[in-house]
Structures are given as structure tokens and as C-alpha cells.
Symmetry: C2
Subunit: 211 residues, 2 copies
Amino acid sequence: MTTSTRRGPGRPSLTERRREDTRTEVSGAAARLFTERGYDATTVEDIAAASGMALRTFYRYFRAKEETIAPLFAAGIRDWVQRLAEADPDLGLVDALLAAYRGSVRHSRASAGIDDGQLRALLRMVESHGALRAVWLNVYRDTEDQLRPAIAARCGRDPDDLDVQLAAGTANTAVRIAMERWAAGEASARSADDAVARALKSVATGGLLAP
Amino acid sequence: MTTSTRRGPGRPSLTERRREDTRTEVSGAAARLFTERGYDATTVEDIAAASGMALRTFYRYFRAKEETIAPLFAAGIRDWVQRLAEADPDLGLVDALLAAYRGSVRHSRASAGIDDGQLRALLRMVESHGALRAVWLNVYRDTEDQLRPAIAARCGRDPDDLDVQLAAGTANTAVRIAMERWAAGEASARSADDAVARALKSVATGGLLAP
DNA sequence: TGCACATTTGACATAGAGTGCCAAAAGTAG
DNA sequence: CTACTTTTGGCACTCTATGTCAAATGTGCA
């Protein structure tokens, strides 16, 4: 099955990239339908039709209706984690987290084909729809596990170390909360970066929990 | 509809308490079935039958199949939050969180009719079943919001303050991670208290994130 | 006790979610 | 063009979840 196209070592194969593209397209279509006519009023058949595929095929790309929006939520975050791994090793953990985040936001969200306005609209739906909220939380829970190896490497610790896990959890939570506040706030709010930066700095000192 | 029975000001009415009891019973039956024959192999009809009620009645107590286990997860946590509100105001935030947690664990889990072994078994199922994991995360996300007023009052801040929200989020995350580690670890692990205490103390100083 | 009332429960019908199965279609290698 | 693999679509089916309405149950009051 190996194509003659040259591909880097970690680079995904052609078919895998096609698959990702399809997922991204379906995500966009689903998000549009959800925000236009509501989550419940949108059936999986609608999404499949809007994506030009049969119902059965839809379920070969997504396990469930809610999961269509997961790639939209995950887009920026995945990139964040990857950039953290590649960040300057001399940087402190918080600075590295922050630098990685700043670098990722613009680049990655654009490539996922979703703008800030749409993301906000989606995040506001999340509040009221249990299934969507679950996806949102799940994406962050997954991120937590992905952050661990990166943090462990940077601090010279084991990924299973409690402190590593907690650092991943708290940094992750800070970002999530910043995003939730950004989504809930008025349109006047600046890009999410600022909120994330403030939140990360706060948890780094223990914030209100500090002795 | 008011009964002649005297009831305290905040005390729930008789029918409300009956309702809670029923929910607890159904939760227990569901948890038993899930761990015995697996989550997917258990239909809602099975749960309803085991609880001695019709299918339609089940859905008047729980919105969805997964939610049957939410009360089991929430039992200890709710009590934790309440005890925090009642804790000695002179205590530091972390100490108060800790004291409240210690006080709640034994008392509350017993009243929910679930022991540590069952809770562990359930938590291990959570790893592999998206729907259950969603419930687990949701319970903690709810806790986050419930913690906020209590923390705000203790620190003399607004519940919408970013630092309050972050403190709630990080403390909450610490507890969740401690519980997850406790569930994943060997049976030899001591009660969850120790794990929670260590985790809370770590995040209070910023842990690995500390500058 | 018995009657009028509200609330709870159960049975039925139905739409939508999600999956197994197999055949048609499309892409690939030779 | 042919043989082969992968992807897609159609069909049937189970289960989840909800609206509707009637029967059962409980409650207040005479």
C-alpha cells in the first residue's frame, strides 16, 4: 500500500491526511448546522447530507454526533502541546507553556477552518448541552495526558510522577478556564491569549491557594 | 400540597427526599449491573427492571443511562463543598479544603451506599467508556462552580473573580487527579485521603509550575 | 369513610442514534 | 485490462430517549 510519494518519518500517510481533511470538513458542516438550527434539531443525517456522504459513512469518521465538534476544540490545543515539546529548553516551564500557546493560537485555529466568532458561538452552546460539554471537557482531559510527557522531559522527571501530572492538570485547567471566560465574556474581549497568560501566571504561584 | 410535617427552612420536602432515595437505589442497581455484565451489555430496561420500575419511569429519574452513576461520583464531593463553607474561617484556604475533605470522605460515601471497592471498579470502567468518562468529568466541572462561592466568601472576593475561579479549578483538579491515581493504583493504596492531601499541598505552591 | 384533587407511574408509539453485514464503487498494483 | 484492496453506501436491526395519555396512587377535606 506504500505510495511512491516521499514522506517524512513521522509524517502521516496520504490516506491519513485525506481522512483528516474529511473530518475537518464534516466538523465545519456540523458546527454550522448546530449554530444555525440548534443541536437537537440537527440530525446526523443532516450532517451527513451537508457533507455529501451517506449516514453509514459518517459513522466511519465519527463515533457519535457530539464528536463532530471535538476537532474544532482540539485544533489549537494539540498544536500547543507540540510546540511545548519543541520550545527552548532553557525557558522556565511557565514561560515555555506561554510561548508555545502564543505561537499556536493564530496558526492552528486558522488551519482548522474556524474563526474566533464561530468558536465562541460553539462554546456558548456547550453550556447548555450536556453532550457537547462532555466533549469540551474530554478534549481537555486528553490534553492533560498529552502534556505530561512534554512537561516530564522538560523537568527531567517521570511522566507518571504526581507533580508532573498535577502541573499538566493545573496548566490545562488554567487554559480551559481562560477560554471559558473568554467565550462567556462580551465581544469586546481581546483575543484569548491575554486571558490564558494571566491565568497561567496565577496558577504558577498557587494563586489564592498559596500559603 | 404542603404537608403538615414540620421541616427545617432549607430542609427538602418529603417527596424530594423520597425522590433522592429512589435515585440512590437506581444508582446502586445500575452500578452493580455495569460492573457485573459490562456497561454496553446493560440496557436501560435491565436497570429499570432491577429497580422495579418501568422504562418510562426510569427516565423520570435520570436523563440518560450514563447519568445513573453521577450520584455515586458526586456523593463525596458535594459534602466536601458544604463542609468547606462551614469550616473554621481562621483556617487557611488549603487547610480548610483539606479539613473539609477529610471530614467528608467517610461519612458521605457510606451514606451513598457505595464502598471503596465498588467506587474503584466504577472508576476503572470510566477509563474505557466515553460516556462514563464524560459523567466523571462533568461531576468535577460542576464541583468547580460550587466551590467558587465558598472560596470567594473565605477570601473576601467575588465569585466571578479570575483568581477565585482558578483556585476552584486547580483545587478541584488536584482532587480529581488524586482520585484517578488512587483508582488506577494497586489495591494496597491507602484511602484516598492521603493522595488528596499530597496533591492539594503540591498545587498550593504552584508545584512544578512555580517560578 | 368517601369524594375531589394533584402527582406519580406505566404502557404505547415514535424518532433518532449507533452498529453489523454485505454488496457496489473507487482506487492501486501488476 | 485484470486481480486485489479499500472505501462507501444501503439495509436491517437494537437501543436510547421523549411525547402522549390513561391508570394508579397518594393527599386534603368533608
